[in-house]
């Protein structure tokens, strides 16, 4: 594959257009070992989520706290080697934090941060940050932006549209059924219920990869 692409590049006078054409049309580019096998970094997760949900990035202090909790203290890697990335982003703590931060992004509530998440030594700085945090607001998601009236027409359409938006692929059948059941149990479906479904979709192993 590499050799073939290199040859292509050379044959076309180092022109990138035919090179990318060949790359994107290759079977390897879409092989199961490659597609959806990359763990989203915390930054990818946060920015990708607010883009997909057409909402705003939370205020700097909130975003910073979230990223620190998720293991990526931006501009302050743990050492000169940087972050290891890949599956090392995921442990039991960071995974649950992703699930809970999803709620914050979707519902527009403050994430469950504590003074420790901001502190180095001593409680001073952490407490200051916590006080500042109480004055901030997270935007939240508006259902009109992410679903058209037709897409809202029934539960299947809702799940299908959200799936497309968040995964660009299907969840597993059982997972889809779980989400259907969740929505079906609501006699009068509110925006809040739909947003909870969005949060649930983000609270899956599948949402952590791209």
């Amino acid at each position: 594959m590499n050799e073939a692409l290199a040859a292509n590049l050379r044959a076309n006078g180092n022109n990138f257009k035919p090179f990318l054409h060949a790359l994107f049309r290759s079977g390897e580019f879409y092989s199961p070992e490659i597609v959806r096998n990359q763990v989203k970094s915390p930054v990818q997760w946060l920015i990708g989520s607010v883009r997909a949900l057409e909402s705003d990035l939370p205020p700097t202090l909130v975003s910073w706290g979230m990223l620190r909790q998720l293991g990526q203290d931006l501009f302050a890697p743990p050492n000169v080697k940087g972050w290891d990335g890949g599956v090392t982003w995921i442990n039991t703590n960071t995974l649950l934090t992703r699930y809970n931060d999803a709620q914050s992004l979707v519902a527009g509530t403050l994430p469950p941060l504590t003074a420790n998440d901001f502190g180095g030594n001593g409680a001073g700085n952490g407490q200051k940050a916590m006080n500042a945090l109480q004055r901030l607001r997270v935007g939240g998601v508006s259902v009109e932006k992410i679903l058209t009236p037709e897409e809202r027409s029934d539960n299947h359409a809702i799940i299908a549209a959200l799936q497309n938006r968040l995964f660009q692929t299907h969840l597993k059948k059982d997972q889809q059924e779980t989400l259907q059941e969740f929505l079906a149990a609501k006699t009068k479906m509110s925006d809040a219920d739909i947003l909870t479904a969005v949060r649930l979709m983000m609270s899956t192993p599948e949402y952590q990869v791209t």
């Binding site: 703590n93 030594n121 899956t204």
Partner: protein, 448 residues
């Protein structure tokens, strides 16, 4: 694979049932096939099936940043020491004497009490050959128990989990903190971490959402064929590979989604367990108000609640004292000594002190000579502390010579390889063979 179900011993029966239920609980279906392989492995290996009531427990305490060993266990009577440290050298009046040659830093009153009570041992001059003065690299060496020139993929405690705790509860290793230390990195059984038990859960808006979350995260993984990567990129230590596993044991290999699915199950199981325990058990001692004390308070509650955890990991940062060392180290050591003293009192009140051993480490000591800023720079060997009811109390090992001709590039030379301390802890305390975990047979230090 033989399909025999005949049980020969009671031990075997226990192992099968405990392993079986733990697996059913925590392991996605893609692993179910390896269940019988795990059984076979358990039958002949050192797999430990223990409960939260009787097993010994190790608490590892990292003093991050490189603690100055010379001003912690102070050779107050040594002329070379006083010459090398005209400004920050501690005098006989500043310290808590242990004998005619050395004494503890004056802030370590908590340690002195433990020492006098026969609950503290000081391992002097611990290090390793060809010491590295980079925080990052030296920490990695301590975390993976590797030789200075080799890079290992898994941590020494992770290899302990893999080798001796197969199929155990995910909480077999618990780190108080937001990130898993490299020491926990493992092929199969990597332990869990959290910093706040209240937030260590899926915070649900409503029961229906909670129930759906559980279902969404309980489903089996649907990844295509797993490709085990055991051995791939793993370097061999002289004398054999560290923590080598039987071929065909998938865990870190294969697709990211499978790894995350398993982590999701571990998270779900352990968060229920831990929140329950943390809410139920109270501390029974007065701790200082510090992040370290907070971590130890939590560990004491988890031990009291009977978690089946074998290794807890806590850390205290700030030891990188390049400038104005005296007040910083004073504060840190005082916190360390008082926190551990309270921890011991708490465990004694619970009746669990006999089961617990605390081991401290720091990535390196500091240079013998002070620098021009009233601090010290990165050095080599330093003391380790062991705290517990059953420790060989007193001074272990030999204090490194400070005579200029005995130094290597201005640093003290080690007398005890840190892996001998690890070997002693593994063999004498955790009751498992150290060879498969450390890759070589290091003479186990008699720690208890």
């Amino acid at each position: 694979m033989k399909n025999e179900i005949t049980l020969h011993t009671r031990r075997e029966f226990l192992r099968r049932t405990v392993l079986g239920s733990a697996l059913a609980w925590t392991v996605p279906a893609f692993l179910a096939d390896t269940f019988s392989a795990l059984q076979a492995q358990a039958a002949e290996s050192a797999t430990q099936t223990v409960t939260g009531k009787d097993a010994t427990i190790l608490v590892v305490l990292q003093m991050a940043g490189g603690n100055d060993g010379l001003n912690t266990v102070v050779p107050y009577a040594n002329d070379f020491y006083r010459r090398a440290r005209p400004k920050i050298g501690l005098q006989a009046g500043d310290i808590l004497k242990l004998n005619d040659e050395v004494g503890l830093h004056g802030a370590l009153t908590g340690f002195k009490e433990l020492y006098d009570g026969g609950q503290l041992s000081v391992v002097q001059g611990v290090g390793y050959p060809n010491p590295n003065r980079s925080h990052f690299r030296s920490t990695e060496i301590w975390q993976t128990a590797s030789d200075s020139e080799r890079v290992e993929k898994y941590g020494w405690l992770g290899r302990y989990f893999d080798n001796a705790c197969g199929g155990a509860d995910p909480a077999v290793g618990v780190t108080i903190g937001s990130q898993l230390p490299e020491a926990f990195f493992a092929a199969k059984q990597k332990g869990i971490c959290f910093n706040n038990p209240q937030n260590y859960r899926f915070i649900a808006n409503g029961n229906a959402a909670e129930e759906s979350y559980r279902k969404l995260n309980e489903l089996e993984s649907s990844g295509p064929g797993m490709t085990p990567d055991e051995g791939a990129g793993e370097m061999l230590n002289s004398g054999g590979s560290i923590g080598q596993l039987p071929a065909g044991m998938p865990m870190t290999g294969g697709r990211a989604i499978d790894f995350i699915s398993r982590t999701a199950l571990d998270a779900q199981h352990s968060s229920d367990e831990i929140r329950g325990v943390a809410a139920r058990v109270q501390n029974q001692a007065d701790y200082p108000a510090s992040p370290l004390a907070g971590s130890l308070k939590l560990v004491a509650r988890l031990i009291g609640g009977g978690l089946p955890t074998r290794v807890y990991y806590v850390s205290q940062g700030g030891y990188d004292t390049h400038t104005n060392q005296l007040p910083t180290q004073q504060r840190l050591l005082q916190d360390l000594g008082n926190s551990l003293k309270a921890f011991v009192a708490d465990l004694r009140a619970q009746g669990n002190l006999q089961r617990v051993l605390v081991m401290t480490f720091s990535e390196f000591g500091r240079r013998v000579s002070e620098n021009a800023n009233g601090g010290t720079d990165h050095g080599a060997a330093a003391p380790m502390f062991l705290v517990g009811h059953q420790v060989k109390a007193g001074l272990l090992g030999k204090y490194p010579s400070l005579a200029p001709q005995d130094l290597f590039q201005g640093d003290v030379k080690y007398n005890v390889d840190f892996r001998s301390v690890y070997a002693g802890v593994l063999e004498h305390w955790l009751q498992t063979k150290s060879l498969p975990i450390l890759g070589r047979q290091f003479p186990p230090l008699a720690v208890v």
